[in-house]
Amino acid sequence: MEQTQPLTLTQSASSRWEEFEKEVADHEKALYHFAYRLCGNPEDAQDLLQEGLLKAYRSYNRFKKGTSFDRWVFQIIYRSFVDLYRKKKRRPFVSSLNETSPHFEQEKPPEVPDYSALPEEMALKQELGAIIQKSLLKLPNEFRAAVILCDVQGFSYEEISQILQCSLGTVRSRIHRGRRLLRELLRPYLIGERRGG
């Protein structure tokens, strides 16, 4: 059997950092996208991702080589998200049903550099993206995370169960219930898009 070589203190901090940096570089786009979809705005997403990466780096020596680095960090990010959410008793990442969150308005710039310059189809797509994000924020955290991991990140149920640390049955139920909730919130827009396309 292959024996896992435990990382020792002899590994210099410098090479450790370089290794970590490389792993992060390979996955940072997906990791940031996950954080962004969870939080719904760039500021909270960046804080969450940095918090997650800091935790990951501090325990990087205990990361099991050969296992998936991105799933490991996704898991840390989700836990950090739940922790942060618990700490802030008020619901910071969820906009209320009627009011337009200021963060939500700020969401547009990174996705739409020059709104007016885009063809109509692209503009519609961006608009739908913003509406979908707003609806995602109305889902309970567990449903939101499961749906994002499945539909945005493309993970399998097995992988999601590892990231969210729950059973396959729970993953299946969260995804299904999350999607049904989302569909109700998005029904007018999705039908509209379908007719248009």
Partner: protein, 173 residues
């Protein structure tokens, strides 16, 4: 399989997370049942809409906070590679401000009155030149760069058998 049961499995069907047999049953049901078929189409449309969400542009200085928090030598090296770092910028600013205050303080202390000017006495060089002890200390610190800080060593202690994915997860504080 009745409609209710079929509809409860539609997401898993969509995600190809069902057994071959389940898939076959549902596929046949969808051919004959318009209600479930519409339900399936709406979920499918939702899934593809979520899948086409664009990734936002990621921030540039993602790792800077980690470098600052760790404060180890590797971090310092990497820090110097970062083109613009708010923390480093802030630190420089504080240093510059401190220099100005020090200069002003020294000027006031050195030139309180024209009579007693310590600049003219032999009081200056001693404090400015590093002693041999200080030089040795600096060199010693340079050599210790590679050893991990104390809090990192504690993080490295193994903590019993865990789920493979759980291996590196710190206990939430």
């Amino acid at each position: 399989m009745n409609c209710q049961k079929v509809q409860s499995l539609l997401s898993a069907y969509l995600d190809q997370e069902l057994t071959t047999e389940e898939r076959r049953i549902i596929r046949q049901h969808l051919f004959t049942c318009r209600t479930c078929s519409l339900e399936y189409e709406s979920l499918s449309l939702l899934k593809s809409s979520l899948g086409s969400l664009e990734a936002p542009a990621e921030p540039k200085d993602l790792l800077s906070k980690i470098l600052v928090a760790q404060g180890d030598s590797a971090s310092a090296i990497a820090l110097s590679r970062i083109a613009f770092n708010p923390w480093a910028f802030g630190k420089r600013f504080v240093m510059a401000a401190a220099c100005v205050f020090l200069f002003l303080g020294a000027a006031l202390w050195l030139f309180p009155t024209p009579k007693s000017n310590p600049m003219m006495t032999n009081a200056t060089p001693q404090t400015l030149r590093p002693t041999s002890e200080q030089v040795i200390m600096v060199r010693h610190m340079d050599k210790e760069e590679d050893s991990a800080p104390e809090d990192l060593k504690q993080e490295m202690k193994p903590s019993g058998p865990q789920h493979p994915l759980l291996m590196g997860i710190p206990v939430s504080r």
